[in-house]
């Protein structure tokens, strides 16, 4: 069914989408070619900003660090994620269902929280470090080194690789594997000669994705890179203000453009890979019941490795935070039972800005999440069953925010709210943060919605048209009711994502716009460790509630 393309509602939706995406982006772009902040009357076009950052050795060091970390993440996450996917989809590894849920937890915990967790658990005086020191006499690791950052980032991005490769393995028909068995290949050869090459496009896609996420990294390098002064592009941008002492918007914009210049091609590459991957596997097998590969005694080895990974990425940081939230101080020679306290939470709840942050975070996840899903649905429906013009425009539009890290999007929205007449009044309301969140997560939200829309056979809508329903009636009475569950699931997922988000709110943080994520960044900068621990734990609890509800309703935790 091809509905008429240029109806008023559809054009309105597309126009608004274009406006909220393109305005902040063009503002950043324009600002980067000015010699002063854009509201300064003395500004004029120049390459000063680029000249400055290209002359700054710190910039090149950050770029190098970003590349090293991103590459390290790929090297670590790719083999582990692929192996995990193989173990969970093709073998008789014990406790599969539990692992499948646990694997996704790192995706839903704020990287800021995770990073903080590693500091308090494994930093020089972390809980586990001191315990290890008691055992071997020295702390055998240093979480503040560049290599550690790459390892931690790599291990926490294993789920991303796992998701894509397990999806590819699941959609791989068992017949092509059986065919290889029949002509004489043993299970290992089947894995190496058939399964692996056939899922290679998905693996390559996941590798590009992880590399791309490496450039977006902010919380981890901000917290872990600080003590030894390791900067990456996003933290370099964040620290520019400190460096010069004055808000140097043009320099920040120039760095932002540099980051997007790297990430946007990566996004385009991902999109192209996704398309060719579908074409490549054009001969689809028929899915029959899969005979699981028996691991024999190896299954305990495999289980131990998976468990070790889960302990490192989930148990260590979260237990660290949980402990730190309930002690007044921590260091060498301190006995845990002497310092246990609830003081940290009392402090958080006695400060109005932190209470506001908690309330706002909750509201932005629940009400804001619902509103965001409504927006995503409007955009999804505008492109639903559309070919040509409108669909193409939407397709490329939503790619743009994907390439812009949350930190930059927040910065751009700050400028918009500060200087666009009529929006100033909204600057100090949570609306500004919500709008930025919604735009930053647009691509993710739309994938959820289009996933739900894809489930509807076109003939269900076509038959409604033939019995006499108008396009609008089909939408209201057939399409939307059919994706009800999908919308609910999207709401839950968006809730968790909004709870965990931190970087987008950093520049928007002000009185009235506090959210836990940006509050953590700010408190961390101020050295208020106690409150960071307490707020982190509250943040984890909020995500956990969302996760529990999602699991209760059987929501698939990935698209």
């Amino acid at each position: 069914m091809i509905a008429r393309s240029f109806t008023l509602p559809r054009v309105t939706v597309v126009a608004i989408t274009a406006l909220v995406i393109l305005t902040p982006l063009s503002l950043i772009f324009w600002q980067s070619f000015l010699n002063a902040p854009f509201f300064n009357p003395a500004k004029h076009l120049s390459f000063d900003a680029y000249r400055f950052i290209f002359d700054d050795p710190d910039f090149w060091q950050s770029l190098l660090n970003s590349v090293v970390i991103a590459a390290g993440m790929v090297l670590i996450a790719l083999p582990l994620g692929a192996a995990l996917a193989f173990l969970l989809t093709r073998t008789d590894l014990p406790a599969q269902r539990a692992i499948e849920v646990l694997v996704l937890i790192p995706v839903f915990i704020s990287p800021m929280v995770l990073a903080f967790g590693y500091v308090v658990a494994m930093g020089p005086v972390g809980f586990y470090s001191l315990w290890a020191k008691g055992l071997v006499g020295d702390v055998p690791w240093n979480v503040y080194s560049l290599a550690s950052i790459a390892v931690i980032a790599g291990l926490t991005h294993v789920p991303h690789v796992y998701l894509y490769s397990s999806a590819a393995l699941k959609s791989l028909g068992s017949d092509v594997e059986e065919a290889a068995r029949v002509v004489g290949a043993n299970p290992l050869r089947v894995a190496l000669n058939v399964s692996l090459p056939m899922t290679a496009p998905a693996l390559f896609y996941a590798a590009v994705l992880v590399f791309f996420l490496g450039f977006e990294l902010f919380g981890l390098p901000l917290v872990l890179g600080d003590p030894e002064g390791h900067l990456v592009l996003s933290t370099y941008l964040y620290k520019l203000t400190n460096k010069l002492g004055t808000p140097s918007y043009h320099l920040m914009a120039a760095v932002a453009v540099c980051i997007v210049a790297i990430t946007f091609p990566l996004v385009l590459l991902q999109r192209w890979l996704l398309k060719t991957a579908g074409k490549y596997v054009s001969v689809k097998g028929k899915a029959t019941r899969q005979k699981l590969l028996p691991l024999g005694g190896w299954k305990w080895v495999a289980l131990a490795i998976v468990a070790l990974w889960l302990v490192f990425t989930i148990v260590v940081p979260i237990s660290g935070i949980a402990l730190r939230a309930f002690v007044e101080q921590w260091g060498e020679g301190i006995k845990l039972s002497d310092v246990l306290t609830l003081e940290n939470f009392t402090q958080v709840f006695s400060q109005s800005d932190q209470v506001r942050a908690i309330v706002n975070t909750f509201l932005i996840g629940t009400i804001g999440g619902a509103l965001a899903v409504a927006c995503y649905m409007a955009i999804g429906l505008a492109g639903h069953r559309q070919r040509g013009g409108i669909a193409k425009v939407l397709d490329y539009l939503v790619l743009l925010p994907r390439a812009v890290p949350g930190l930059l999007a927040g910065l751009a929205f700050l400028w918009i709210f500060l200087f666009v007449p009529g929006l100033k009044e909204l600057r100090n309301t949570i609306f500004s943060v919500w709008l930025a969140y919604t735009v930053v997560w647009l691509a993710y939200g739309l994938r959820l919605i289009s996933g739900a829309l894809l489930q509807i056979g076109p003939e269900l809508e076509e038959s409604a048209r033939t019995v006499g329903a108008s396009n609008a009636q089909v939408l209201r009475q057939v399409t939307i009711p059919l994706i009800r569950f999908g919308l609910l699931a999207s709401w839950l997922l968006v809730f968790m994502i909004f709870e965990r988000e931190y970087s987008t709110g950093v520049y928007l943080l002000g009185q009235g716009t506090e959210v836990i994520g940006s509050m953590l960044v700010s408190l961390w900068g101020a050295g208020a460790i106690d409150q960071v621990a307490a707020l982190s734990l509250i943040n984890i609890a909020l995500v956990a509630v969302g996760l529990a509800v999602a699991l209760r309703f059987g929501v698939r935790l990935h698209e």
């Binding site: 028909g173 017949d175 092509v176 059986e178 065919a179 290889a180 068995r181 029949v182 002509v183 004489g184 290949a185 043993n186 050869r189 000669n193 058939v194 090459p197 056939m198 290679a200 074409k279 490549y280 596997v281 054009s282 001969v283 689809k284 097998g285 028929k286 019941r289 005979k291």
Partner: protein
């Protein structure tokens, strides 16, 4: 898909494969998924050089039987042997891994590896057998030429038509000379028109290369055309087995009669029994037929006759019923007529004398099978 797809461009070289000498024997095979019994004791034999068709509706267990022979399913009881080698024996705890069984299997979906060229798809089985590159090249080329695929060796599967993919799948299963080739619905993925040509081509290939094959199909015409022997499966049990002629002309059960062809049905009561014949009586008709199964006077029974054995008679006669013409359907090569006899509907081929709404239909006693019961299968 072009029509020439299934027509090999080269003629088949006779007797390329070594003549098979191994016999496939399946004994009392049982298989279940949980409480769901799929195979309930199936035994069969496939002699060297023979083609056996496993025929049945979906859910009859035919594909499961084939996959059990291949080793892709695990039976709970029974025995499978080929020649001297034991593939499966539940009593002895033997279950030879799939890759060691050395069988050829043509999948319904063809299951070609999309990342390998046609040549590499076919060569893979030989590479796994550590055959020298020179010999691989020679044997694959020969196999491809045999199947009329010589020019397509460097293509990728998605660049081929459905018919060509099917032939690659067959070449891949034949190239290492397995003692038995298993084919799972080999023609069902082809267009209806193409299927008939492919059927003749496949039969020719099997005969020329002296292949022993076990073929699964749900289409009785396909089974009859391609095989020397048919095994009709019904819910995990063998309903009847025999040559295609046997199965079509001498069905022992109504199920077989129904499955193998198109029939008219006449439910009635047995009025008389004599020397293997039974007189069946219904509302306004009485007909003699061949008794199939135990029948006594007064029993409910169903008369079954093939459509093509039901004839339009020129006038009243002993084995005739008078029926009213409802409508005629032109099928191209012939005409099918629908008649009404009380509540019954009878169909037959041929031309109806013009101008007469009523007709006499002849149902010869030798062609009318009388089965016990009134079950409409």
């Amino acid at each position: 898909m072009n029509k020439s797809a299934t027509k090999p461009e080269t003629t088949l070289a006779p007797n390329l494969a070594t003549k098979p000498t191994d016999k496939l024997v399946v004994e009392d095979l049982h298989l279940q998924y949980g409480d769901n019994l799929i195979l309930k004791g199936v035994s069969m034999t496939l002699n060297p050089g023979e083609v056996v068709a496993l025929l049945g509706a979906s859910g009859s267990g035919k594909t499961t039987l084939l996959r059990s022979v291949a080793g892709l399913e695990q039976p709970s009881r029974g025995k499978i042997t080929i020649g001297g080698s034991m593939l499966f024996d539940s009593a002895a705890g033997i279950d030879m891994p799939v890759e060691k069984r050395n069988l050829g299997l043509v999948f319904q979906s063809y299951a070609l590896w999309p990342h390998r060229t046609v040549f590499e798809n076919v060569a893979y089985g030989l590479r796994l057998r550590n055959i020298t590159a020179v010999e691989i090249d020679q044997r694959v080329t020969q196999a491809l030429n045999n199947l009329g695929l010589g020019a397509l060796a460097q293509r990728l599967p998605h660049q081929l038509s459905g018919g060509q993919q099917q032939r690659v799948a067959i070449a891949r299963a034949l190239v290492y000379n397995p003692p038995v080739v298993l084919m799972d619905e080999p023609l069902s993925n082809l267009d209806a028109k193409l299927r008939e040509e492919a059927r003749a081509w496949l039969r020719e290939l099997i005969v020329r290369l002296h292949i022993s094959a076990l073929v699964v199909t749900h289409d009785q015409t396909e089974a009859m055309a391609m095989s020397d022997k048919i095994l009709l499966l019904n819910f995990g049990k063998i309903e009847q087995q025999g040559t295609p002629e046997d199965m079509y002309n001498r069905p022992q059960t109504q199920f077989t009669a129904e499955f193998m062809g198109s029939n008219n049905h006449l439910p009635g009561k047995v009025a008389q029994v004599a020397e293997g014949r039974a007189l069946l009586a219904g509302d306004g008709w009485r007909l003699w037929g061949a008794a199939r199964g135990p029948l006594a006077v007064g029993d409910s029974a169903t008369g079954v006759i093939r459509l093509e054995r039901t004839r339009i008679a020129s006038g009243a006669g002993a084995d005739c019923v008078k029926a009213e013409l409802v409508t005629g359907m032109f099928l191209g090569d012939r005409k099918e007529n629908l008649f009404k006899l009380g509540d019954l509907r009878l169909r037959c081929y041929g031309s109806v004398p013009a101008g007469s709404p009523e007709c006499f239909l002849e149902l010869p006693p030798g062609d009318l099978w009388v089965f016990p019961g009134n079950a409409a299968l």
